[in-house]
Every structure is written in structure tokens, then in C-alpha cells.
């Protein structure tokens, strides 16, 4: 621990030193300026211009213009740009130098970041998608993950909740697990598990998808890897960039609900004996809880450098006021990246990142009802004939028909739920050129995250009133340390053949602490959660510590023959403390082969084809997403009273599994990359199939064992699919138009379960009691398959009413289909109806996986104008709506949607909406399962770059203003308020199994944005 501390201290001490270093001196002399253009005369921004043999340099701006102070008019300028042939121009006393660079047709030298190194894009043997910094910062996003949505083939990103600051679920080529997390790992500037920087600070983002690319991350590679490279300084004069935008937001949609009169008529019908009293308001609860939201997003960055020291310093501020009262998210971060060339052979650098994020949460997506409902579910279901406050008592109204739950306005305005997170991260690297071909690199990174959440339910709420106010404060702190050491050897054989090999080892350790306390009954609501000591009732405090270690050895070899045949082999051996004592270590190999067909002699002369490459890879990767100590048996405390006093007491809660091991995914990938017409058209097509075996699954034990479940390695699951990406520069010249299309199709299927037996589970709000199991895992079907009855509309007078405990037998009652129940002589079900409704009549009624997902991006530009139109969508996925189930059960316990107006009555029999009737059982049935396909206009943005003449006079290199709108148009048939919803989809256990569920989510927002980008 001392060692860790001393590392941290060192960085802190070094920080001012580095900051000092970056303040370079810039001499005066003559000014050389000009414009850099490409073959076709188009401006080339970002070209590096350096005075040969010196550290003096700059880069060209968006319009290709540059200017450079030089000590004198002699010497030579070097113009270099990725993908172009470098050019040297003798100055020869000229002050204007316009240069035209020639494209390097032989190889687009763009590089792609892969694990522990980079490769030329043309030499990539695996399946890798790149996302540019422009795409990531196209519109204000609360974080990088959100900005990635729809941008890369094979990557599915869904908000777990629309709440500002809420988490996202990321799936690369489908969920490879059932019970373990399938989130990818993030590698930020080489730091595995590093904090994600804000989108504006990202230079490039690569998604590693196939085993060839991810196996180098071994036991954490199975779910794909997202490699992030942050922006770094370039030699030249200091550059200042300001990006600023403000947005206005509204909830994306609402539900049409019964008004007070309609509601009272419905309740009278459902529960004639119930006394509704004299409430006579007509309250639109949705109106009361929603408000106009807003986002401010600002970034200010400085970058630059000399020949030996480059720097990039950036500050970001993002402030979102949510569309529900009292909700919001803020983050503020600073990034400092310093690169130092200490000698000809030694390079060192340090990335520092610090962020504070604070979130004010509206209570939504509640897992269980209690007396405090979620704001959204309550805005739908709360009785519309009640006012906000009871005129007699002055208190907030509570529900009369069911448990006395608070109204949504009360919950939204009274309940406090806030969190604060501080992240500090430092990542140091040193790189030493031992020989010309042999490089050693070491990195040491540390990241700490400190969080605090506070909760207060004042006495103005039911839940607080019954206990005199309730407050909870909890804190958590986690530290992650990583040390990587590796050698890279490269050898060029000439004749377009080369060889490289990398090998190294790493050690990573993590420690997480948490603690918390709860108090009840306070003198005043004013103390909020900041005076637990003033509580007259103390609840048990909590604390905990978890630690894990991971040690690894890894290596990779690349061989390129004749610039046609490319071979890659990787291997990693990981040892993890999380795994059971019998399985601590495992090995993950992969291999890949690529063939640049276009380099073959027989392809020469086909000028239309710029490059055509075939790729194939196969490898094993793992998923160690099992929490520490999960393999160990344990006793847990039970809060026990003997003789009026709490005593020490325990009971067995977890049973051991000494053979638990990681999930292993074997993935095959076959792909092709085709570039046509001088890269005007680029196609990438991949087919993949992955099979994950030894699935970690919390297997339901017989409850009579005393244990609810046990984590076991069971069965296998398959993901296979196609990914298609097309980049097309449709129009070039003055009017430019380019399009990017990505389409991904993934098929998820459970291949094998223990004994071939299906497993059922429940994923539903706890207060929708009586639902029982809602989902099934069955061989041959995808994970998350929805399981229930077939709803056949309503019974009419004279129908034969099927028998069955809990099923309705009356005209206007819900009618379900009898499809099973008859047993043969051995007592096995025959799949034939038996005239009785019961649990045997359930069947598979929905698949939450989309048939395909897609993104479609268009960029237009004309003169100073640019226009971006970005669509994103999902096709063929089912949604199970608990929201509609709760509202339209029509058993007279809460409000309903206007569908209730079509309910069965003796005079309105031609309907599939049942009559209002109390005591109706909630059932998962086809009535609540709907097609959730959608297409959404995610972003439309119109920008204008002010003319050079204006920007130059303002001493700016760039001035762009834009207006944009997000989520303003959605095409869907889904009857809930938004098809882009999730429920209970967070956490390892839930994230793969609970798909396409809708309950009380914070709605996504529609935004209108104006912004400005300024460069100096």
C-alpha cells in the first residue's frame, strides 16, 4: 500500500513541473504563410509543417491555411500528412508558400490502435471499427458511450434509463453471457479499465470485435474492447479551441390517460361499492412533473508543443437540467496530456484526468412499490380526480384505491436522491528504443473513484411521515492500479515483407470500499441527510471491502509477406483471484490471416479497385465478470432480537462452488474490406459466430435447500451475425455529400442448458405481484425470451368459460388460450388442451432481440455550410410493457390509458379490452407484448463556417456556428411512450436477461441545440 501511495504522491509532485514545461518560448522572425491543398485542390486541414532540423512547426487549419514564424528566410519546410507523400520545400526568401500534396496511393497510412500497439489500417487482420472524433462530438452527449450510439456496426447501445447521468448498456456482437456482464472493457490510452474521457477530448475510438483483436485482453476480451485515444498536442504554436453549446429539452412523448370524469366512471364500474368521496379535481399529473430541460456543454482546450514537449490541456463542463422536476446531471473534468521526448531513445508521458460528476435523481423504474411510487409510473397511474394537496389537511394527496401511495408531484418535489462522484486518474508511460528494432514500454496507471450518495424522505411524503423522516448517506471508494511492461520488436525484410513481435506482462489490482448509515425521525425536514446523528431512530450501519488481483502474460506476432499475406497470432495467460481455488489460471490464444487480394498481380490494372482484402480469424476469449468472493460459501448476518435487544446472529446464505471458472468464448470471423474508386466507396462486411461455454449462471436451486441459487458454469450460448458498413463520398467538389451506413444483425441463441432443461426466471416490478416467472431460457431460443399466456380477447355472453384457478369466468373477462395440459399415461404433458387454464398453458410469446440495428449518417457541405443528418434504429424486437399492464389491467386500483374507454361493457362487446373488474390477476400475456421497432432521427445539425476573411480578421483559425436537434422524429408502432426503453437492465445478473422491458423509465428527451466552435 505504501508503494501505491508513493506512486500517487510522485505524480502530484510532478504535475506542476510538467505544467511549467509546456510554457514554451516562441521566437520572432519572418512570417511564412500559405495554403495546403490536395490533388484535387481541396483544402487539407491538420497538415504538419515543420522547419527541417528544428522544433519550429505548426499545422494547417480547416481551410488548409497556415502561418509560421521563422527565425530567417533560409531553410526548408517539411509538409507531412497521413495518407499523403511528404513534401520538402526550400523557403528561399519567399513569405507565401502554397503547397499541393500528392496522395500516397500505395498505402493509406492511417493507423488503427489495437491492444499494446498500432497497425496500419491496411494491415489490420481483425474486425475493428473506428469512430472519429467528429462523430463523437456531433451533438451534446452526457458521455462518450451515448455519443457512440449508432456509429459502429456490431455495437448496440441502449440507455438503461433516460435519466440524466444514467448508465448505458453496450453490446458488441450480442450478449455472450446470461448472468455475467457482457459490457466491453475500455482501454484509455493503454489503461485497461481507465475512466472514459468526455467525447470532446477523444482523438479516436476503435472498437475491437473479433477474437483476433480482443484475445490479447484474454479473460476480459469476450465482450469486445473499446480502445480510446485522447487528444495530444502537436508541435507548433499554441492552439486554443472553444466548443460551446446550449440545448433546450422536452420529454420525448406522453401517454393519453383518462381524465377525472372518465376515471371515476371506470372505477365505479370496477368497484361499485367503493366510496370515491368528493374529490373533484382534474389533474394532469404529467403536466406537473415535466418541465423544460436544458443542457449546457462547454469545452476549452489548449494544445501545442515544441519538438521535444507536446501538451494538450482541456476543461469540459456539461450541465443537464432534466425534463422531470429536481433531476439533473453535471460533470466537470480536466484532462492534461504531456509527451516528452527526453532523449533520442526515451519518450515519457503522463495523462492526467480529473472529473467531478454530480447527479440529482428523479425516482423512476422502481423495483417495488411501497408507499413511494416512481415519478413516472405514478404520473401515469395516480388518480386524476385528486388535487396536489388535500384541501382539508394541506398534505399531499395519497392514492385511495390501492396502498396509500404518494402522488407523483410530491415524490418529484420532496424526495432527495443525490450522488457525487470524483474521479482522479493518472497514467504514466515510458518508452525506450533499446535497438532500432526493439522497443520497451512500461505504463503505470492508477485511477480512484470516490462517490457519495445521499437520500432523504421528508415527512411531507408518506414514506417519510410514517417514520418522522428518513435519511441515508453512503460512500464508496475504489482504486484500480495497473502496471504493464512489454517489448516490441519489428523487422523489415524489404520486398514489402515485415515481422513484428510483442510480449509482456501486467499486474492489476483493485480495491473497493463502501460504508453507509441510515437514520429516521428528525427534528426538522431542513436537516436533509446531513445530520444522521440527530435521528432519534438509528438503523444498522453497513460497510464492506472487496479486492481482486489479476496477473497476466501476453504476446503477439505479426507477419506480413509481400504486402499480400498477413498473419497475426496472439496469446494471453491470465490468473484471477476472483475464480475458484481449482481454476485460477487460463490461456486465451487467437490467430488471424488476411489476404490483400488487390495486391496480387492478377488484380493490377483494375483501376476501380483501390484495395480488396479478405480476413479470417479464430480465437478464444474470456469473461471473468464474476464478483470477488462469489465462489466462497458464507454466512450472513440476520438482524435478530432476543429479549428486546439486537443480538449477533447468522444464517447460511451462499453455498460454495470450488469449480467455478470463467466463461470462454470461441469466435470465428470472416470479413472483407473493399475500397473502390480511390476510396470514394468503402465496404466492410463481416460474418461472425461466437459460442460461449461454461456460462456463469446463478442456477435456481430447489428452495427447500435453504439457498435460493448457486453460481455454476452451465451450458452455452451462441451469437452469430453479419455486419455491414458502407462509407461513400457521394459528391466531391464544391458541394460535398458523404454517407455512412452500418447495419448489424445478431442472432442470439441458447445452445445448451444443464440436462436440456429450461430455466424460468422473473423480471418484473415487485409490486406487480402475482406475475410469477416472466421469462424462459430454453435451448434453441434467445436469452430474454418472454414467456406467458396467449390472450384471446374477452369472453362474451354465452361463451364457454374455461376453468382454472385465478382465471376469469365471466362475460367481459380476460380470455386466455388453452394450449396444453393433457397428460399421457406416464404423466407427461402432450401439448394438447385439457379444458383447464393453468401454468401449463404458457408459451413463448416474445423475442426482445432486434432482427437488425442500423445507423445512417449523412454529411453535406457547401461553401461554409455543413449539414448532418443521422438516423438510428432497431427492427423486429419485442417489448413487454409493464407500464401498460399496470395501467390497463382495469381492476380499479389506478388510472388507465384512454384504451380503457374501449373496455367491454354489456353494450360495447366488440372489443378486446376486458371489462373493469376488481381482483383481476396480472398475467404476462400477448396483450402486453408489442413490436418495438423504431427509426429515429437522432441528430440533424446545420452549421456555418465563417469565411476565412472574417475569421482571419478576428485572428481565429475557425469559427463555426450551428443549430441542431436530437430525437425529434421517431417512427414506431409501439404503444408505450417510447420504444427506446429498458427496465431492470443494469447489473451483471440482469443486463443480458432483461431485454425489452418497459416500466416507469425516465423518458428520453428531444433537444434543440445551438452551438459554436472557435479555434485560435
Amino acid at each position: 500500500m505504501n508503494r501505491i501511495l508513493s506512486f500517487k504522491l510522485k505524480w502530484l509532485l510532478l504535475l506542476p513541473f510538467f505544467l511549467f514545461l509546456v510554457v514554451g518560448a516562441f521566437a520572432q522572425g519572418i512570417l511564412v504563410s500559405g495554403k495546403v491543398t490536395g490533388n484535387g485542390g481541396e483544402a487539407l486541414p491538420g497538415v504538419t509543417i515543420v522547419l527541417k532540423g528544428s522544433s519550429v512547426g505548426t499545422t494547417s487549419d480547416v481551410a488548409g491555411n497556415y502561418s509560421l514564424n521563422l527565425p530567417n528566410a533560409n531553410g526548408t519546410l517539411v509538409f507531412s500528412y497521413i495518407g499523403y507523400v511528404s513534401q520538402e520545400v526550400v523557403i528561399n526568401n519567399r513569405t507565401t508558400l502554397n503547397v499541393s500534396l500528392v496522395m500516397d496511393a500505395k498505402a493509406m497510412e492511417e493507423v488503427v490502435v489495437v491492444g499494446y500497439g498500432t497497425v496500419k489500417k491496411s494491415d489490420v487482420t481483425g474486425a475493428v471499427s473506428s469512430v472519429s472524433s467528429e462523430e463523437l462530438s456531433a451533438y451534446p452527449a452526457q458521455g462518450t458511450v451515448q455519443a457512440l450510439q449508432g456509429r459502429a456496426a456490431g455495437v448496440q447501445i441502449q440507455a438503461n434509463n433516460g435519466q440524466p447521468g444514467a448508465s448505458f448498456k453496450v453490446r458488441i456482437r450480442g450478449g455472450t453471457s446470461i448472468n455475467a456482464s457482457s459490457d466491453p472493457i475500455y482501454v484509455v490510452d493503454g489503461f485497461v479499465g481507465g475512466a472514459l474521457p468526455p467525447p470532446e477530448d477523444i482523438e479516436s475510438l476503435e472498437v475491437l470485435k473479433d477474437a483476433s483483436a480482443t484475445a490479447i485482453y484474454g479473460s476480459r476480451g469476450a465482450n469486445g474492447v473499446i480502445m480510446i485515444t485522447t487528444k495530444r498536442g502537436k508541435a507548433g504554436k499554441p492552439r486554443i479551441n472553444i466548443n460551446s453549446s446550449v440545448s433546450s429539452q422536452n420529454e420525448i412523448n406522453r401517454l393519453d390517460l383518462l381524465n377525472a370524469d372518465q376515471f371515476r366512471a371506470y372505477i365505479k364500474e370496477a368497484r361499485p361499492a367503493f366510496d370515491l368521496g368528493s374529490a373533484n379535481a382534474n389533474t394532469d399529473w404529467q403536466d406537473l412533473i415535466f418541465r423544460r430541460g436544458a443542457i449546457q456543454n462547454h469545452q476549452l482546450s489548449f494544445s501545442g508543443g515544441s519538438e521535444n514537449v507536446n501538451y494538450y490541456i482541456s476543461g469540459n463542463y456539461y450541465d443537464q437540467k432534466g425534463v422531470i422536476l429536481n433531476s439533473g446531471f453535471k460533470r466537470f473534468s480536466v484532462t492534461s496530456n504531456i509527451d516528452i521526448k527526453a532523449s533520442e531513445k526515451l519518450k515519457v508521458g503522463l495523462n492526467l484526468f480529473a472529473q467531478r460528476a454530480s447527479q440529482q435523481q428523479a425516482y423512476t423504474q422502481e423495483g417495488s412499490g411501497g408507499l413511494t411510487p416512481g415519478v413516472i409510473s405514478a404520473a401515469f397511474k395516480f388518480e386524476p380526480d385528486q388535487p396536489i394537496t388535500d384541501p382539508n389537511t394541506g398534505r399531499f394527496t395519497v392514492a385511495r384505491l390501492n396502498d396509500p401511495q404518494d402522488n407523483p408531484y410530491a415524490v418529484a418535489t420532496q424526495l432527495e436522491n443525490e450522488s457525487l462522484n470524483d474521479r482522479i486518474q493518472g497514467n504514466f508511460y515510458g518508452e525506450y528504443d533499446i535497438l532500432k528494432e526493439l522497443k520497451f514500454r512500461t505504463t503505470i496507471g492508477a485511477t480512484t473513484n470516490s462517490g457519495r450518495t445521499g437520500y432523504f424522505a421528508p415527512t411531507t411524503l408518506n414514506v417519510g411521515r410514517t417514520v418522522g423522516g428518513e435519511a441515508t448517506v453512503s460512500g464508496a471508494k475504489s482504486t484500480l492500479l495497473l502496471n504493464e511492461n512489454y517489448l516490441t520488436y519489428t523487422r523489415d525484410f524489404g520486398t514489402s515483407s515485415n515481422f513484428s513481435v510483442m510480449g509482456g506482462y501486467s499486474f492489476q489490482t483493485s480495491s473497493s470500499e463502501n460504508w453507509g448509515g441510515t437514520g429516521q425521525s428528525f427534528i426538522s425536514n431542513a436537516v436533509s441527510y446531513w445530520n444522521l446523528g440527530g435521528a432519534s431512530v438509528w438503523q444498522s450501519p453497513s460497510s464492506g471491502l472487496t479486492e481482486w488481483q489479476l496477473g497476466s502474460f501476453y504476446g503477439r506476432a505479426n507477419l506480413s509477406l509481400l504486402d499480400r499475406y498477413l498473419f497475426t497470432a496472439t496469446i494471453r495467460r491470465d490468473g484471477s483471484s476472483n475464480f475458484s481455488k481449482n481454476h485460477k489460471w487460463a490461456t486465451f490464444p487467437s490467430g488471424a490471416f488476411a489476404w490483400k487480394m488487390s495486391s496480387e498481380p492478377f488484380m493490377q490494372g483494375i483501376s476501380a479497385i483501390t484495395q480488396w482484402k479478405w480476413r479470417a480469424s479464430y480465437g478464444l476469449t474470456g469473461n471473468q465478470a464474476i464478483t470477488p468472493y462469489q465462489t466462497l460459501a458464507r454466512f450472513s448476518n440476520v438482524y435478530t432480537i432476543i429479549d428486546g435487544l439486537a443480538v449477533n446472529a447468522v444464517r447460511p446464505t451462499v453455498v460454495a462452488n470450488n469449480d467455478l471458472t470463467w466463461e470462454t468464448t470461441a469466435q470465428l470471423d470472416i470479413g472483407t474490406d473493399i475500397s473502390l474508386l480511390d476510396n470514394r466507396l468503402n465496404f466492410i462486411l463481416d460474418y461472425y459466430r461466437s459460442v460461449t461455454r461454461d456460462l456463469l449462471f446463478s442456477v435456481q436451486l430447489p428452495q427447500y435447500s435453504g439457498y435460493p441459487n448457486q453460481l455454476q458454469n452451465i451450458g452455452s450460448v451462441e451469437n452469430k451475425g453479419f455486419e455491414f458498413t458502407l462509407n461513400s463520398r457521394n459528391l466531391v467538389g464544391e458541394f460535398q455529400w458523404s454517407s455512412d451506413i452500418n447495419i448489424s444483425r445478431n442472432r442470439n441463441k441458447v445452445l445448451e442448458l444443464p440436462g436440456g432443461n429450461e430455466l424460468q426466471y422473473s423480471a418484473a416490478p415487485g409490486h406487480l405481484v402475482g406475475l410469477g416467472n416472466t421469462h424462459v431460457l430454453r435451448e434453441g431460443y434467445p436469452v430474454g425470451t418472454i414467456f406467458g399466456w396467449i390472450y384471446d380477447g374477452v369472453y362474451q355472453e354465452g361463451d364457454e368459460f374455461l376453468a382454472g384457478g385465478g382465471f376469469e369466468r365471466m362475460a367481459g373477462g380476460e380470455k386466455f388460450r388453452d394450449i396444453n395440459g393433457k397428460r399421457d399415461a406416464q404423466g407427461n404433458l402432450t401439448g394438447e388442451p385439457d379444458g383447464v387454464l393453468n401454468s401449463d398453458d404458457r408459451t413463448i410469446i416474445g423475442n426482445p432481440h432486434p432482427k437488425f440495428i442500423w445507423g445512417f449518417n449523412n454529411d453535406f457541405s457547401y461553401k461554409g455550410f455543413d449539414l448532418n443528418i443521422f438516423f438510428q434504429g432497431s427492427q423486429g424486437n419485442d417489448i413487454l410493457s409493464y407500464t401498460l399492464m399496470e395501467l390497463n389491467l382495469l381492476s380499479g386500483i389506478n388510472n388507465a390509458t384512454t384504451d380503457a374507454l374501449k373496455r367491454w361493457t354489456p353494450t360495447n362487446t366488440n372489443t378486446d379490452i376486458p371489462k373493469a373488474a376488481s381482483g383481476r390477476t396480472r398475467r404476462v400475456s400477448t396483450r402486453w407484448v408489442m413490436d418495438g421497432s423504431y427509426a429515429r432521427l437522432k441528430n440533424v445539425a446545420l452549421g456555418y463556417n465563417l469565411l476565412d476573411s472574417i475569421t482571419n480578421s478576428l485572428k481565429m483559425s475557425k469559427l463555426r456556428v450551428y443549430i441542431s436537434a436530437q430525437n425529434i422524429w421517431t417512427i414506431t408502432k409501439y404503444k408505450g411512450y417510447d420504444p427506446e426503453v429498458n427496465y431492470m437492465s443494469e447489473g451483471a445478473t440482469n443486463s443480458n436477461r432483461n431485454l425489452g422491458l418497459d416500466y416507469g423509465s425516465y423518458p428520453n428527451a428531444k433537444s434543440y441545440t445551438v452551438g459554436i466552435n472557435i479555434g485560435f
Binding site: 508503494r3 368497484r271 366510496d275 368521496g277 389537511t393 385511495r400 390501492n402 396509500p404 515510458g430 520497451f440 410514517t466 417514520v467 502496471n483 506482462y505 499486474f507 425521525s521 460497510s543 490468473g575 475464480f579 481455488k581 470477488p628 468472493y629 466462497l632 460459501a633 458464507r634 454466512f635 450472513s636 448476518n637 440476520v638 438482524y639 435478530t640 432480537i641 432476543i642 429479549d643 428486546g644 446472529a649 447468522v650 444464517r651 447460511p652 453455498v655 460454495a656 430447489p702 428452495q703 427447500y704 435447500s705 435453504g706 439457498y707 435460493p708 424460468q760 405481484v769 402475482g770 410469477g772 416467472n773 384457478g805 385465478g806 401454468s839 381492476s891 386500483i893 381482483g919 390477476t921
Partner: protein, 505 residues
């Protein structure tokens, strides 16, 4: 080059130092079974876990006891907006996925698992009988107590009497016939009766004594209609009441005025809740007061009107009976004004008062109460003795005397002697007297979760739910189905060897 080598070595060594990979997990703050049991104190800690898990929302705090209460004829559904699962338990319309059952079934088995863990831990200490058997006896009592409930509710059940370290050993067991389960319950209770002390420290009733074991033996034998043995055990308790510290409390109300003392003389086995605090998983969370409390009334009687007696229960109960006054509330303060039940907001009927009236320290709806609930109290032992004695020898003076003892206490109306209920008139026939005892149990033990078991063991269903004097008519009642609840559907899916399901589900 030498310089490089040095640098390289330094870097590499620093890496190697960091790489002292130790993959052994050393959890802090987690209790491992291997190292749990070192002294008898640890065995006690494990037994206490079982008590704590009985005093949860899932069992005596709400789910289990509410199901028992609704199943009988003394408590009906009040608010019909309450979840369908409760209505279906009450209305004899439940299916094999009833959520009340799904909630309490696992928890009873977790209590059993806790007691099995304690027994296995106790045995692992290898101590002489006289140092350890009283703790083994205590754990075996808890196990018997749990199985006694389960066997009455479900009939044949999976029976496990060892600590499970590998769940695969029980994954395909069959149900043990109820007769056999009863024999094992009796064996546990006999052991408990042999080894438990006469009184626990401070005389607490939340831990069993020799008398507790005997009282439960009496109850088990009564259920099995082995009346001579039931009589013998009950008589043993009565004869040794001074030794065990048992007796009736003078004022009936004091039984239901929280916080009851831990050594309340009438309590033979008590489930101990402490006010206003609760633990994980619903531990120490008592929700019975709000379940029976009055919707819209002022604290502490306010509640949710879920479990509310039918009007007939109120109307047929003689108002001269102090126990009616203690057991039911026909009026309540609403907004500070005393209002009759006819204007209650949700369910316009008198409500159960035993729990909501004096919950002690609790929230304003009576939740997280201070009650110590009597799972068995001395009055019940007297009534067991009366019933069993009458079954063996007819309505003897001794049998009548036990009932009169109970009635005499009821005549103490908060310190003022009344004349009702009178002593039992002599001259009753045996069936008449036994009926009288059952009626006495219905009223004395009203809403104390005993009535359903009485209906079941005496096969009274058709009479009390379909007869002319039914307090709570249910035409739906089916004696071939409804005396047993279904084994949870999930359990049968996980282990099909639990088939066949109980008839009718």
C-alpha cells in the same frame, strides 16, 4: 548500453515487484462456514439467526401469518384493491404460483437450513452431551416448529435434517409423506423436551424451554388426533407451570400491548420484534398492524384495511365479552374525531385491534412494531388440555375447569370484574363440549393464526364456509383441494420429483 541495461533492470524489477501475484482470496468482513464454529457461543449465534429469520416480513411479520389468517373464517379481505394473490388465498381460488406461498415457502426452509447449520456446527465441536445438547435441542425445536407449520399447510413435503454443503445432494429428492414428517417433528420435540432447560436466561420466551417443547408436543398430538398423548403433554405443562414460569396474564389486553416483556408469563413461545428498526431481507419488519389497521384512521390504528373480519364475526360475538373489545375496533379517530366504522374510508367494517391498537414504538401505521407475538401461549395449552381430556374421558370437571380458567380471566374487563363469559354450564354432551372448546379457541385465539389449523384438523370447512351459520361464506370451498396449499410451481419445475402436485392445482 550499460546505462540502458541499468534502466531496463530498474523498470523490469519495479514491474516484477508489482507482479507478486497472489490469487488467494482473503475476504475481510465475510463469514465463512469452515471457520464459523469454534465455541458454543457460535452455535447460539447460528440458532439466533433462525429466530431472526422467523421474525421477518415473510413469516411472522406478514406473509405467512396473513395467509393463515385469511384462509380461516375470522378474517376476510377488506380492501379489494389489495393484490389478487391475497384475495385468492382468502377466496379459495389460488393457483400453484400464488405469490404469498412463493414468499414464505423458501424462508421456512431457510430457517430450517439455519437450524441444521447450527446442529452440524454443534456436533463439530465434539463436546460432551451435557455441554452441547441443550443447544442441539434448541435448534431441533426450531426445526420442528418450522416443519410443523409446513406439514400442516402443504401435507407431504421435502424433509431435510442435515446441513447442505452441496446442493446437488438434494436436487431430486421426493416429498416425505406427512405421517413420517410428523414422526420426525415428534422426535425433535422429544429431544428438545429432554435437553432444554426449564427456563432460558431471564426467562425469555423467544427461546424455547422444556415447557415450550412439551406444549408443542401437545399441539402436534392434538393435530394428529392422538388425544391421550396431547392430554399428557398439556397436563405436563400445566402441572409444572410454576417451574416453567407460566400463567395467564390478568388483563387480556396486556397480551396485545407492545412492548410485551420478554418473559411475559403467558407466552410459551414468542416471536420477538423490536420497534422501528429493521434488517436486510425484511428481518424484524412487522407489517401486521398496518395489514389489519384502518385505512385513513389516525396513527397508530391507521393501516391498509387488508385483513378485515366479516360483519358476521362482529355481529355474532357477544359484546359483553371483553375479548371482543380487545380484539376488534368498531370506531377510530379520523382527523381527531372519533368515527364509527360505518364511515371508515375504505372498508366499512370493524377492524382487528389486537395488533394495530398498541403497536409500541412503530411508524405511524404501526409498521416495525414492538410486538412480541405469541406463537403459543398458556391459554392455548389450557384449551388443548380441555379438548384432549374431553376426547379421552368426556367433559370431566377437569376439562371444564381448564375452560373456566380461560373464561375467568376474560371477565377481568381492564381491572373491573364482569359476569361474562360465564363458567361452562355442566351437563354438556361430549360433542357439545368439544364444540364449545373449539368456539372458545376461535374467540380466545381470534386472529392469532390458529383458526385455519382448527378448521383443517377438525374438518370443519364445509360447515364454516358453506353452512347456514357461516361467518364468511365461500361457495368455492372444495375439501378435496383446499385443506392443502399447492407446492410452488417453481419448485416442481426445478425438481419434477416433487410431483404429483397437491390435488386440484
Amino acid at each position: 548500453m550499460k546505462k540502458f541495461v541499468n534502466k531496463f533492470l530498474v523498470l523490469t524489477l519495479s514491474g516484477l515487484l508489482l507482479s507478486c501475484v497472489d490469487l488467494e482470496e482473503k475476504p475481510v468482513g465475510i463469514l465463512a462456514p469452515e471457520s464459523m464454529f469454534k465455541t458454543t457461543k457460535d452455535v447460539e449465534t447460528a440458532i439466533f439467526g433462525a429466530y431472526g429469520w422467523i421474525a421477518t416480513e415473510r413469516l411472522y411479520g406478514r406473509q405467512f401469518v396473513t395467509a393463515l389468517m385469511l384462509r380461516g373464517d375470522m378474517a376476510d379481505i377488506g380492501d379489494r384493491g389489495t393484490p389478487a394473490e391475497r384475495q385468492q388465498v382468502n377466496d379459495f381460488n389460488m393457483d400453484d404460483n400464488n405469490n404469498m406461498v412463493n414468499q414464505f415457502w423458501p424462508v421456512w426452509y431457510q430457517v430450517i437450513s439455519a437450524s441444521n447449520a447450527a446442529i452440524s456446527g454443534a456436533e463439530s465441536l465434539k463436546l460432551p452431551e451435557n455441554e452441547i445438547n441443550h443447544l442441539i435441542a434448541e435448534a431441533r425445536f426450531v426445526r420442528a416448529f418450522s416443519y410443523f407449520h409446513l406439514v400442516q399447510v402443504f401435507g407431504d413435503i421435502p424433509y431435510i435434517d442435515f446441513f447442505i454443503t452441496d446442493p446437488s445432494t438434494v436436487k431430486d429428492i421426493s416429498r416425505t409423506p406427512q405421517a413420517e414428517v410428523y414422526q420426525k417433528i415428534i422426535a425433535d420435540l422429544e429431544h428438545a423436551k429432554q435437553w432444554l432447560p426449564d427456563q432460558q436466561p431471564q426467562g425469555v420466551r423467544s427461546r424455547p424451554s422444556k415447557g415450550t417443547a412439551a406444549a408443542y408436543l401437545a399441539s402436534v398430538h392434538l393435530t394428529l388426533q392422538d388425544y391421550p398423548k396431547a392430554y399428557t403433554e398439556a397436563k405436563f405443562v400445566i402441572d409444572n407451570k410454576a417451574r416453567f414460569g407460566y400463567g395467564l396474564v390478568p388483563d387480556f389486553q396486556d397480551l396485545f400491548r407492545a412492548p410485551q416483556p420478554g418473559n411475559l408469563q403467558e407466552h410459551i413461545f414468542a416471536i420477538d420484534f423490536l420497534g422501528l428498526v429493521s434488517g436486510d431481507g425484511g428481518a424484524n419488519d412487522d407489517i401486521i398492524p398496518p395489514m389489519t389497521g384502518i385505512r385513513g384512521a389516525d396513527a397508530p390504528k391507521s393501516g391498509w384495511s387488508v385483513s378485515v373480519p366479516s360483519m358476521a364475526v362482529y355481529n355474532t360475538w357477544d359484546s359483553r365479552d371483553y375479548r371482543k373489545e380487545v380484539s376488534m375496533d368498531d370506531s377510530a379517530l379520523i382527523g381527531g374525531v372519533l368515527q364509527p366504522y360505518t364511515v371508515f374510508a375504505n372498508t366499512k367494517r370493524p377492524h382487528i385491534a389486537k395488533y394495530a391498537r398498541y403497536p409500541g414504538r412503530s411508524n405511524s401505521e404501526g409498521r416495525y412494531s414492538d410486538h412480541n407475538y405469541a406463537a403459543m401461549r398458556y391459554a392455548e395449552v389450557l384449551l388443548i388440555a380441555a379438548e384432549a381430556a374431553a376426547e379421552v374421558n368426556g367433559p370431566t370437571a377437569e376439562a371444564i375447569g381448564y375452560v373456566n380458567e380461560v373464561r375467568a380471566r376474560a371477565r377481568n374487563w381492564a381491572g373491573k370484574q364482569t359476569t361474562f363469559p360465564e363458567n361452562v354450564a355442566p351437563g354438556l354432551s361430549k360433542p357439545e363440549f368439544i364444540n364449545l372448546v373449539l368456539e372458545e379457541r376461535r374467540l380466545e385465539l381470534a386472529f392469532e393464526y390458529k383458526r385455519w389449523y382448527d378448521i383443517k384438523r377438525r374438518n370443519l370447512g364445509e360447515q364454516v364456509f358453506k353452512g347456514p351459520n357461516s361467518l364468511e361464506p365461500h361457495a368455492n370451498f372444495d375439501p378435496n383441494r383446499d385443506y392443502l396449499m399447492p407446492i410452488p410451481r417453481n419448485e416442481i419445475q426445478v425438481n419434477p420429483n416433487l410431483n404429483p402436485q397437491n390435488p386440484g392445482y
